[in-house]
């Protein structure tokens, strides 16, 4: 095959190509994958669970896409012999102690801020995806850095909520703010 023929073939291919799938779907899947991984690296106070086999509940507010991805990913998965459950919340809906992990989408919306403030002082691992700044009350905030989904950790927020974060989690974080 010479260069000219390759170019002709390239041109006819270019004409027939469909639009690429947006990267957004993959970003949501990576965030959902992280949400299934985080519980293994967090120690909740014993009082956070009713019984030794009680599930770890992952709440998702304001992001149905991630909730759907989680439904598919958690089936049959256990962390420290606890099954995982997904709980959907509307944006701004009080969590009423439903959850051990709470993902709050929607960035710096008033509803999201309210929801985060509502978890303070309770054993909830709050996770956000606000670009640029780490929202108050959020323990883990996703950041896209150089084409990768990284996360920052606020040890202050973790401490306020009485959560112990394991060293492996801190080691992978992009930034860890002091308590």
């Amino acid at each position: 095959m010479d260069l000219r023929r390759a170019l002709i073939a390239a041109a006819c291919l270019a004409a027939a190509i469909a639009a690429a799938q947006p990267p957004r779907a993959l970003q949501q899947r990576v965030k959902a994958a992280y949400l299934t991984k985080f519980p293994a690296f967090v120690d909740w106070p014993a009082a956070a669970f009713a019984t030794p086999g009680s599930p770890i509940v992952i709440g998702v507010a304001g992001n149905d896409e991630i909730a759907r991805e989680l439904d598919a990913a958690i089936a049959g998965r256990e962390v420290a012999e606890r099954p995982l459950r997904v709980q959907r919340l509307s944006p701004g809906e009080p969590d009423n102690g439903c959850c051990h992990v709470l993902f709050v989408g929607g960035g710096a919306d008033p509803a999201a801020r309210l929801q985060l403030a509502g978890t303070q002082g309770r054993a909830v691992l709050t996770v956000t995806d606000t670009p640029g700044t780490h929202p108050p009350g959020s323990v883990i905030n996703f950041q896209v850095v150089e084409d990768r989904m990284r996360f920052d950790i606020s040890r202050e927020a973790a401490e306020k909520n009485g959560l112990q974060l394991r060293a492996q989690l801190l080691a992978v974080a992009r930034q860890v703010s002091a308590p």
Partner: protein, 642 residues
Amino acid sequence: MRNVLTLALCMLGCGLPAAAAAQLPSTRQLSELSLEQLAAFEITSVSRRAEPLAEAPATVFVLTAEDIRRSGARSLPDALRLAPNLQVAQTSANAYAVRARGVYNNSANKLLVLIDGRSVYTPLFAGVFWDVQEVMLEDVERIEVVSGPGGTLWGVNAVNGVINVITRSAARTQGTLVAADVGETHSGAVARHGGAIGGGHARVFAKYVDREPTRTAAGVAVQDGAHLSQAGFRGDWSGVSGELRVSGHAYRGLIGQPRPGSISISGVNLALAPIPVEGANLTASWARRLATGSEVLLQAYYDRTSRTVAPTFAEDLDLFDLHFQHSLEPSAPRSFVWGAGYRRGRDRIENGTLFAFLPARVNQSWASVFGQADAELAEGLRATVGARLERNDYTGTEFLPNLRLAWAPAEGSLLWAVAARAVRAPSRLDRDPFIPATPPFLLAGGPNKRAEVATSLELGYRRRAGTLAWSATVFHAEYDHLHTQELAPSGTFVTFASLMEASTTGVEAWATWSATPRWRLSAGYAALRETFRLKAGSNDAAAVATAGRDPAHSWVLRSSLDLSDSLELDLVVRASAALANPAVPSYRTADLRLGWRPLPNLEVALVARNLGGAHAEIGAVETRTELEPGLHASFAWTFGAR
């Protein structure tokens, strides 16, 4: 052939309706990755550049940064021992034979090795001088080991496989790293600092390695002590006009030259001197995504190496390489990639009196064009067809086609088939060696030496389900024009020639099982059967014993266990069957590593190597190193911005 190929390309391009969207990994598959792997996963382009080989219809083993760290490996060949589809054998402290799928005839010359896109395969002997490839393993993101033919995408020399070493973007090596290790066989230290610069990121690093001399099984000292210093940098900038990467390295060292010498001449006892080595290289690459969704990549590098191997030869080699690639819609159900490359070499050799490369000074060039199309023929069924034309000064234009079919019967599984033709072009060691340096010659070069040709078939299957992932490949290849050494009719001298054929059949398989979130087990196995046949006109009866240089089988088992949040225990057990030529007993050996992270940014590790007694891996018993059990300790400390 040419017309058939063009027709096939147009059928794929124009004749099929738009099919389903590109396959993205599912959340379930992603959640099988470790935290570190997730953090390293590229999310905006799952295509060729990000996870280029995860969906590829090829036998690919990927070594992650985590795999390398937890192996305790301190050199690139040591890290490559984890790949079940490679056979790594150590001759002395600095020398290794690294090969895949056998046919290790006159040297390990059928693998292409790339470090961040820069080929380290030398046109001197068509292999790799492993003793100067001191990659900073702490900054390696992953190593992709492809076994099988890769000629279409990677050119002549990618006959039995390709090793792609990919280092992290400078944005991912911010802050400072200081690490050191000390052990009975080698010691070393590295320092790296990364920061933001000019709207992008950059790192600078320095590395020093010192290797202790080893002994043979009889206790005779092998003159292989070595030290090497290296410094380098990498900068990454990304903006609206694309992504720019600039990297460079410079090194200098002194490497012991054990018997029988880098060039051995039977019956002559040479006074072997240590080998001074130095080199420098600079690579720039620019990738840009165009508005149409296509992507262009332009890469240029300059690489200078210098090596004084007294008393046989001294070489100064300058290589300049330019590569262009255009991918159309890499993530769509159909894609097309085409490109062109040009490489120029300026080789200056100073010969001794006993041995010579003639002519001593040579300028060579290589030029190539390639195109490869990929299309979904039906739900889950993909076809890839492509070819490369590459010209070299010795044998002219070589044709390197491949055809691949891949069928994904379900999410997470892939069945693939490959038919390909790959070629190894002659190197200077094939054509230009003379003994002695002036007539009358005993060895009078290889004037009739041809390009080696491999025609390969491969069938493979891999599957990822829950906590288990596995892959299995069977292959068969026919080789022609392999190396022989022919006695001239006068009976007074020999020449190198290409009068041997070979057939190989083998399997490669591996599996990884995440038994619990804290315990990962993996196993890998390779088996090979090869037969060599002399062609009419050959009188090199000894050549067929080449088969005795490759192990009939090899395996590796690994266990990675997190004892607690900060304690890791890793075990690697590997084994290889015996070799016959020269005879090396089969061996089984193990490395054990205990890693402790007292602070999130400090890692201390203790590694016990070659447990279960000493063993040898390749070479004649009089000269080869006997690898002894030994201890190795290391620490790595990171601080500053992450």
